[in-house]
Symmetry: C2
Subunit: 83 residues, 2 copies
């Protein structure tokens, strides 16, 4: 069966996010002064073949841990959708 | 009232995503051969003050159009949560 995984990889809350800080001050300069905290991470969609949702979930976790996320600095979460 | 926006900015479907292609072949090399298409974009969370959900939505759209997304190559979508 085919699954689509939507993965978010974000910098850990405890860490500074300099890219987010820069975007935040740019938004202020553009007049959007009500914007407060900005944090920037990655969004990855991947499609995969698996026999069950559990197997698909394991594969996504594997992919995140082995390649996609740097767990020292980033946390990931994902949702799985059939099809 | 305080709102949190979760914004996804992804390369348009019609365009090649070389970063996604590279990640896809890396995942294959790591043994995750069931993975098919991979597409990589940005995930941005921002908190903002607005008097209503509509106003917050307008501000998020403004931010995406003016700064966050390059609409020639990227599409954005977002969800708004109170608090």
């Amino acid at each position: 069966m085919k699954y689509t995984a939507h993965i978010n990889i974000m910098p850990l809350k405890e860490l500074l996010d300099p890219q987010g800080k820069a975007v935040s001050s740019s938004l202020h300069n553009l007049g959007l002064t009500q914007v407060q905290e900005v944090r920037i991470g990655k969004h990855i969609t991947l499609t995969l073949d698996a026999s069950s949702k559990d197997e698909a979930g394991n594969m996504v976790q594997d992919a995140c841990k082995k390649l996609l996320a740097n767990q020292v600095m980033e946390a990931f979460d994902y949702t799985l959708v059939e099809g």
